[in-house]
Point group: C3
Chain length 334, copies 3
């Protein structure tokens, strides 16, 4: 369920009303009242979801009350359309009109509804939005922004120029200068030159005892949250896309990029400038060499290198084989 | 012609006066009055330009009133020097003394000369410079900066901590947290340890219905503008250098870097961490795989991968050939 | 010696007291008074240092008064532990309790103890911390932050949204929008899921006549300073880790990442997206091609390419050999 601290929901809507407003036929219980949107995996009985076989989600086992999909399934209340993803994007916009949160200025730098612990230190130029919660012993550096509804656990240190929105942050978390957490992710369908943007209705959940470097970008989830596990260390200029799940005790070195919905297990190390594609699973205790490109699932304990990545042993052999090939050529030329 | 909203011009200067102040001889019409500097391509009759064969610009067909160059050409008024680029840099500084815009504080956070639509929302901590224009329905997030002369079209949303300068932005543009648009580009000649910096006198022109992610950097043009086409989507931590032209409906994924004066056609997709060198042309409907390195022009419709990039088909074959080579070795070792 | 403008030191402590508080035995002069911590290379007679053979530092020749190490050495006052790095981290925290600087708000945007030259221009929203020094003719852009004790030489231009801390900056330095300089580096030991963070007690020393681009991250040193040499040009989104030393007249193109304690000689050029591992030395007048990965020392004057990098000549041959291999295959398939 979408977090009401961050998103102001409209509705509810009956299936019949959604059918009319979205201009697609329905099947099943038209009187069913839907209160929210959710992924198939997380949806409950009053949620609207969608099924698009190209996106890999599972219809079987969903608890969704109704589903936007291209073919009807016996016993399921459905809105039927050849374009489920686009139609769901439009439906989500009915529940969450996009610009609502941006239609009124907060007015004051420290909003009167924010709850700020007595021992928290707020530096000059800090802006704290409505209903934000700042824990005991927190430090907020100059010109940092703590957005509407953001929660900061005790003893967390937010440095100058950081911007936080749509996130819940644990205890003893340190975030370095200029980092942006909780902004909308990169989600849309391009139709010719005209993109249809997908609603970004999730959060970023940051655990405890985590350090995040400078000028990092961590997007909030689209339907499912982005998550960073306890004890993890993230270096400067790292990109973490929407819906990524990073485990505990991970090391994410500078300039790594992790694409949407990818999962990374505990104690895994990504060296500098590694890229990981979307929707893959990297296991626990994995080690990825610098500048590698990960294009598929990686099992627990693996050590990988290269782009596209292979086992670190094979990667060294590749480099050596190329090296010898060139040395032979160089000798022939002498 | 340089945009007077952003740059305060000195002069005009006669060819004779420039010859004296730059300490280089002239040929042709010494009494000719020059009002501005421009690239050969964009120069008009009262503009001073320069010709440096190493930089690939075309002398033929230019409308420039006068040109800084190393050899004289019959019929062209010229300032003659073995170092046209350096001399032009010095000339441009006569027209645009560099620090002018930084010599007086704006004084107030919202400058009284800024034109801000009644329906625009300005958050706490926002700074708006002289003569900036903010359209109807715009949202400016906390601690964002809208620089001198910047124009924002209607319904554009600028999130917290964004800094805008020297740019003109269309309607329904969204810019995420911490992004910097319009700063000076990376242009200089290194002479031993002593760089000579080239004037950065252009703008960034951002079209309509564009989304730009967090902690992106888009430099303003040097002499010709940087441009982003309608409907384009740009992810987090992307680098777009001075003078780059990106078409309509493009998708630029996280951590891509595009070097100066490169052109990218409509509906082209650059996947994550791609690098593109300067002064190349990538066609329309091109697809570049993640982490690829583009070193030369790419025709319309191509699909490329690898660094240096080859056709995606050949790139997969390269990976496969290396893989098989190593597998043979591994078997031999067993 | 740690710079007292940035770090409030506790102590001094006798060797005996440190032995007791750290719960490790000592050998040698227990009454010796230690005033500070330092690297083996920089330590003086009243400094405590540590020796960890895995970290490559040299014990021979050190001037340290006492050393945390795993084996005793005749004639040296030592604290003995199988984990010198961890024990030193704990010792450094006794001298420098971490959160001291963040326990009291600066109160005012421009701190009354800051020394700001009469000709300096401060834009709206600027925050200047205690004891900061801003030189003649400096410009500080909107919402920029100049931290406690930071020094800016004359004629330096700091653009909007920049955050400076723990740094000393020379004359005529330009820093573009959103860049973060002086934040804590990425230093810790991971023990299962529980990291032990290493104190970051150094500075960033930026020379004269330097330009640094937008959304760059330059971490302060851990024990030894991060340094940028005169005349160097650094592009957008570059990562410079703690303890890196960059020479004079270098060119560091966009999205380069340089890992900790690496040294780069004068007039060396790193093209876009290059990655350099930690603790290596790149010589003078070196040229590294875009997207290369540097894994070891590079001699003066070398030209390198590829990942892992080889000579530029061999790199071109590698690309050509792969290209021919695939072309042969493509022909066979026709």
């Amino acid at each position: 369920m979408t977090d009401q601290r961050f998103y102001a929901r409209q509705g509810p809507f009956s299936v019949e009303e959604l059918s009319r407003r979205l201009d697609v036929p329905f099947q099943g219980n038209g009187a069913l009242i839907l209160e929210d949107v959710a992924s198939l995996k997380q949806a409950a009985a009053k949620d609207l979801s969608f099924f698009d076989p190209k996106r890999g989600a599972q219809l079987i086992g969903t608890q969704a009350g109704a589903c936007i999909m291209s073919k009807d399934v016996p016993g399921m209340t459905a809105l039927l359309t050849p374009k489920p993803y686009e139609t769901f994007a439009r439906a989500a916009r009915l529940f969450y009109p996009l610009i609502e949160e941006e239609s009124v200025s907060w007015g004051q730098a420290i909003h009167p509804t924010a709850k700020i612990a007595a021992s928290a230190v707020l530096s000059p130029g800090v802006v704290v939005g409505p209903h934000a919660v700042i824990g005991e012993g927190c430090y907020i550096g100059p010109n940092a922004v703590v957005g509407r509804g953001v929660v900061l656990g005790p003893q967390s240190k937010i440095q100058a120029g950081v911007t936080l929105s749509h996130c819940v942050i644990g205890a003893q978390v340190q975030i370095a200068q200029g980092t942006a957490i909780g902004q909308a992710g990169f989600g849309f369908m391009m139709d010719g030159d005209s993109p249809l943007d997908f609603p970004q209705l999730g959060r970023v959940l940051v655990g405890n005892n985590i350090i995040i470097g400078a000028n990092v970008a961590i997007d909030r989830g689209s339907l499912e949250d982005t998550e960073i596990g306890d004890g993890t260390r993230i270096d400067n200029l790292v990109q973490i896309a929407h819906g990524v799940k990073i485990g505990r005790g991970c090391i994410i070195v500078s300039q790594v990029g992790i694409a949407g919905s990818t999962t990374i297990g505990d104690r895994t190390i990504l060296a500098g400038q590694v890229g990981v594609v979307d929707h893959v699973t990297i296991g626990k205790n994995v080690r990825i060499a610098a500048q590698s490109g990960i294009m598929r699932d990686i099992p627990d304990g693996a050590a990988m290198g290269g782009s596209p990545a292979v086992s670190i042993r094979d990667w060294h052999k590749q480099s050596l084989a190329l090296h010898r090939l060139i040395q032979r050529k160089n000798k022939q030329e002498e």
